[in-house]
Structures are given as structure tokens and as C-alpha cells.
């Protein structure tokens, strides 16, 4: 039985396969689903690092490793703010 973190990683493996199928749908525009599927693929590719950072933050929180909880939170805030500012300034 995989431990909880490994279970999440197995989910990421399955999601990678789903993403290949979805990107193929985008490529072929099967049944006219290309644009909607591209939106879904983009959401996954944009948000997956947040999942990994979140998992790491939860682990460091459990370990009471406050220095890295602070660093990880700072990284999360900077990355989110960078994306938001970039969209606001150039979108």
C-alpha cells in the first residue's frame, strides 16, 4: 500500500497520461472539443507546481520546520503574484 505522498504521485502519473490524451484532442480538435480541452490542459499545467509546493509545505508543517514553511510560502506568494501582475500588465 503506497504511503499518502506516494499515492499523490501515482495520481500525478495518471494525470500525465490523461494530459497526453487531452493534448491529442486539442491537436486534432476532435468533435470540436479542442478549445475547451486546451483550457483544461492549461489549467493543469499552470497549477501543478502549486500542488507540489502545497504537499511540501504540509510535510514541513508536520515536521515543525518553520524556516522552510516560511520559504515555501514566500515562493508560493511570489509565483502567484508574478503570474497575476504579468496578466494584469500584458493581458
Amino acid at each position: 500500500m503506497p504511503s499518502p505522498p506516494l499515492r499523490h504521485i501515482r495520481i500525478a502519473d495518471v494525470l500525465a497520461l490523461v494530459l497526453i490524451v487531452a493534448a491529442t484532442v486539442v491537436w486534432s480538435d476532435a468533435q470540436g472539443w479542442g478549445a475547451a480541452t486546451l483550457t483544461g490542459v492549461t489549467v493543469v499545467l499552470v497549477t501543478w507546481p502549486a500542488l507540489f509546493i502545497g504537499m511540501a509545505l504540509a510535510r514541513w508543517w508536520r515536521q515543525r520546520d518553520w524556516r522552510y514553511v516560511g520559504i515555501g510560502t514566500t515562493l508560493f506568494v511570489i509565483a502567484t503574484a508574478s503570474a497575476a501582475i504579468g496578466i494584469l500588465l500584458t493581458g
Binding site: 497526453i20 478549445a35 486546451l38 508574478s82 503570474a83
Partner: protein
């Protein structure tokens, strides 16, 4: 071959190029966009189209590689969080500077820096972090409060390591972030040699950690491109190639000796250095 045939073949060429560069990226710890984007420009893509395709490939490659690299413990998330925080601050500064400073001279300088890093890594012999027979990786990995951990080499031995010269690494990673912000790349080709040659992180760990860092940078860039409406179905082959190549690279890297990975990284850095200097 007529123009129609070329345009019909273009997605398949993009698929092949993205698969190859994502695989090299996952093995050697470069984002890969710095190789893919110039190739697309040569094929006639406009920079406005090529940049999103490059970043989509990097994000997809990292998405496929990071779970495997986290599982085999070559990716160090503490190290990634520390260095990417510094790089992100540098990237923000670089994005601001890019409006006022022409990046040509900086690009040439960094192309030369990539070549110097290639020579430094390629000519170095021996192994800094040696395996410890009979060590338990569960006792050595993920040490709270420390940038120290361990990974398993191809012979199944545990190799402990600890980051050295952290302030220098932070400063240089900030510079790599400035470059990434100025040039619209992930800067991975600078981050891996900084970790390996300055901070004495094992090259496989440096490469896998850079893949995760490049994934963060690429996901932020993708969000911006999506907001600009620049992500179209044309990037789909780059995403598929990134996913397949990233996974292949992550599966291959643990089976390769550290020296082979270092030599491959050196060759890639030399190619990137030449590409960067020529295209600057």
C-alpha cells in the same frame, strides 16, 4: 517538398523536437526552451508563437518528470524552494530591466558563462559526494532545517550530500533569475551548473531540482501567455512531446552514471552557449 507539405509536417517536427529536448532537459537539468525556441525560429515560427510553445514544453516536461524524480529522491524540494525564491525575485527584477536594457550584451556574456560552466563540468573528474555502504536513506533524506539529503546511485548505494556556499548559490541564482526575466527563458541552463559546481550538489540532484524549478517558472509564464490569448492548439504537439520526453528522461537519468550525466550536461551547455551567443 511544397509549402503545404511543410506546414502539414510542422506539428510532427515540433512533436519530435519537443520530445527530444524535454528528454535532454529532464536528464541534464535544463528547461529545454533555450534549445527548442531557436529551432522553431529557424523553422519559420514567429517569436510570439515560439515562446509559448517552448514554455508549454517545459511545463509539460516538468509535470511528467517531477513525480518520478520525487519518487526516486533525486529532486530536492527544500533546495528548490530556497533557490527558486531567489530566482523569482531576480526574474521580477529582470522583467522590469528588460524594458530599459537591451539584453544583447548580457545574453552574450551568459552564453560565454554557459560555455565556461560546460568546460568546468566536462573537465572535472572524480565524484565529490561518495556513496556510503549500508546507509539507510530514510535516516539521511529530508533533514529538517538543512539543505542536506541523499539519493540512490545506479548501484543501489546511498549517496548523502549537503549544500555548500549557500549565499553564493543564492546570489548566482538571483542573477540566473534576472536573465530568465530579461530573456523569457526558465534559466535552467544556469541553475544546474550553479548547484553542481558552486554548491557541490550531486549533478543528478541538481538536474532534477532544476527541472522542478523550471516547471514553476514555466507555469507562471504559461499563465501570462494564456491571459494574453497566445496559447493556441499549435502548442499541443509541444505539450505531448514534453510529457513523453520528460517521462523518458526521468526514467533514464537514474540508470546513468553521474559522470555520464555531467558530460551530457557539459555538451548541452556548450551547445546552448553557442546558440545564445549566436542568436543574441
Amino acid at each position: 517538398m511544397d509549402a503545404l507539405a511543410v506546414s502539414q509536417a510542422a506539428p510532427w517536427i515540433l512533436l519530435g523536437l519537443a520530445t527530444f529536448t524535454a528528454m535532454l532537459g529532464a536528464i541534464g537539468g535544463i528547461g529545454g526552451a533555450v534549445l527548442l525556441v531557436p529551432a522553431l525560429l529557424v523553422m519559420g515560427w514567429s517569436p510570439l508563437e515560439a515562446a509559448p510553445a517552448g514554455m508549454a514544453m517545459v511545463a509539460a516536461g516538468a509535470f511528467a518528470a517531477v513525480p518520478a524524480q520525487a519518487r526516486n529522491r533525486t529532486s530536492n524540494l527544500r533546495l528548490a524552494a530556497v533557490l527558486e525564491t531567489s530566482a523569482s525575485i531576480g526574474a521580477a527584477a529582470g522583467a522590469v530591466l528588460s524594458v530599459t536594457i537591451a539584453p544583447t550584451a548580457l545574453m552574450r556574456l551568459l552564453g560565454v558563462a554557459a560555455m565556461v560552466a560546460a568546460l568546468a563540468g566536462g573537465t572535472r573528474t572524480g565524484q565529490r559526494n561518495l556513496p556510503v555502504e549500508g546507509a539507510d536513506i530514510n535516516l539521511l533524506r529530508e533533514q529538517p532545517g538543512l539543505l542536506a539529503s541523499a539519493y540512490i546511485d545506479p548501484q543501489g548505494r546511498v549517496v548523502p550530500y549537503r549544500a555548500t556556499r549557500v549565499p553564493a548559490g543564492l546570489g548566482l541564482t538571483w542573477v540566473a533569475g534576472v536573465v530568465a526575466g530579461m530573456t523569457g527563458t526558465s534559466g535552467g541552463y544556469l541553475k544546474t551548473p550553479i548547484m553542481s559546481e558552486v554548491m557541490h550538489i550531486p549533478v543528478k540532484v541538481a538536474a532534477a531540482t532544476t527541472v522542478f524549478m523550471a516547471g514553476i517558472t514555466a507555469s507562471v509564464a504559461l499563465a501570462v501567455y494564456a491571459g494574453q490569448g497566445r496559447l493556441t492548439s499549435a502548442v499541443a504537439p509541444a505539450i505531448i512531446g514534453g510529457l513523453v520526453g520528460g517521462r523518458l528522461g526521468a526514467l533514464l537519468q537514474p540508470r546513468l552514471p553521474a559522470g555520464t550525466v555531467r558530460q551530457l550536461l557539459s555538451v548541452l551547455l556548450m551547445i546552448i552557449g553557442i546558440v545564445v551567443v549566436v542568436t543574441a
